[in-house]
């Protein structure tokens, strides 16, 4: 008899059926955004979404204020996976995988993800950073709500960009150490001990600011400007180039567009799979912050407080909302309405799959 085999590993799991072909459905808890699209899509009602508000807001070892909890107060019971799938009901059709906007659920057939199989539809969405345009400012890395971006950069050698150097005329120098104290770059070492007087300038640290020259009481420091003395400006433009790499972890990325929003150049580009709207009824909202805590794209935030005043509304950043609906499911006051008006997906011949995709609209 054909049976599904479930393998649970911490909060992740795999369900596998192997007969004519090997079908494997995997769930990654850290990727799941708790939108519940899988739950409402599953044709055999095998999926159950947990209360993601409570799950994403439990602090196991610390209190809300950040203090460590007393050992007897630590509950581990509520630290659970965001969703469960009944392996006895699941038929491994892959609809949850195809419709998961975060790819937390992934069906593979004989090892090939259905996203790579043409007959299966998949969302048309992307997020990418163009290396030619990127100036490695790291703004996207800071803004990314999923910590999915890593920008590494190699800075130019500072000494190559300094436009001059200083020299000390030791005949005039009295080794008073004033220049050393003034130097903002800690480039000067002065030994004032009688009989052992010396002054050393570290040319790698010196940025040619000339504070030393201006503060020297005996005018012992000479400035040698490369621009003036050598005629042409001798800094090689290639020495000033910042190199690096900007990588988006596509597993964590939800295509919210923060990277594109904060990018000062045209390097970051994205496309969301859904179009629609997000509305918060500020009269119903009690500003509990559950929506802000579950939102995978930081599209909803609670303003930070100064003093004991009640927050009167949540801040909505509509342009970064991916219309996943996790907030709507979590809101205890039914104050949020998320609508999907357009779903962008690759063509398929299956009427059922098209129906399921179209049913996302409301």
């Amino acid at each position: 008899m054909i049976k599904n085999v479930k393998e649970v590993k911490d909060k992740d799991f795999n369900i596998e059926r192997s007969a004519e072909e090997i079908r494997n459905l995997s769930f990654k808890n850290h990727v799941c955004i708790g939108c519940g699209i899988c739950e409402s899509t599953c044709p055999v009602s095998a999926i159950e979404l947990e209360e993601i508000g409570a799950i994403s807001r439990n602090k196991i070892n610390t209190t809300f204020s950040g203090h460590d909890k007393l050992p007897q107060n630590i509950h581990k019971g509520f630290d659970k996976a965001k969703l469960t799938i009944d392996e006895h009901k699941c038929v491994l059709c892959g609809m949850c995988s195809g419709l998961c906007p975060a790819d937390a659920l992934e069906l593979t057939i004989n090892g090939v993800p259905i996203a790579n199989i043409d007959s299966y539809p998949h969302f048309i969405s992307f997020a990418e950073i163009d290396d030619d345009e990127c100036i490695y400012c790291q703004k996207c890395q800071t803004a990314c709500p999923r910590d999915a971006i890593t920008v590494e950069r190699k800075l130019p050698n500072r000494a190559d960009l300094v436009s001059g150097e200083i020299e000390v005329n030791e005949d005039d120098c009295i080794y008073c150490g004033i220049c050393k104290e003034m130097c903002p770059a800690e480039a000067i070492e002065v030994d004032s001990v009688t009989g052992e007087e010396s002054i050393v300038i570290d040319k790698d640290k010196c940025v040619y600011c000339l504070v030393c020259k201006k503060s020297c009481p005996t005018d012992a420091i000479k400035a040698v400007c490369r621009i003036c003395s050598y005629g042409d400006y001798d800094i090689n433009p290639e020495d000033a180039v910042v190199t690096g790499s900007a990588i988006i972890d596509q597993e964590l990325c939800v295509k919210c567009g923060w990277c594109e929003g904060v990018c000062p150049t045209d390097a970051a580009k994205h496309k969301k799979p859904f179009k629609g709207s997000l509305d918060v009824d500020q009269n119903k909202c009690q500003t509990c912050g559950a929506c802000a805590d579950v939102c995978p794209c930081d599209a909803l935030t609670i303003p930070s407080l100064k003093g004991p005043v009640k927050v009167d509304n949540v801040i909505k950043r509509d342009e970064y909302c991916i219309r996943c609906g996790a907030c709507e499911k979590t809101c205890p006051n039914d104050a949020i309405t998320v609508k999907i008006t357009n779903v962008d997906y690759t063509p398929t011949n299956s009427k059922t799959w098209i129906e399921a995709l179209e049913a996302l609209k409301n």
Partner: protein, 76 residues
């Protein structure tokens, strides 16, 4: 998942009662800290401890568990 309390841990501070967004909707006067006028709320402080009144009204948003200083209330 359901709302649970452990009165042994409870200090009776009432933070959970005030922070609960469902309580705030049902009984806005809760925010003042003098308790609600109706028993139709999710939680209230009774005799110095938190007590669940209408468990079915809880929407499991986790706000109470987040604010409770001593893990006396949580969703599990």
């Amino acid at each position: 998942m359901e709302l649970k309390v452990n009165q042994d841990n409870c200090l009776g501070c009432g933070v959970c009662v005030i922070s609960c967004p469902v309580n705030a909707e049902i009984s806005p006067e809760n925010a003042g800290g003098n308790g609600s006028k109706t028993e139709e709320v999710v939680t209230m402080i009774e005799n110095g401890f938190v007590k669940i009144f209408c468990a079915d009204k809880c929407k499991k948003c986790g706000t109470c568990q987040m604010f409770c200083p001593c893990d006396a209330i949580w969703v599990e």
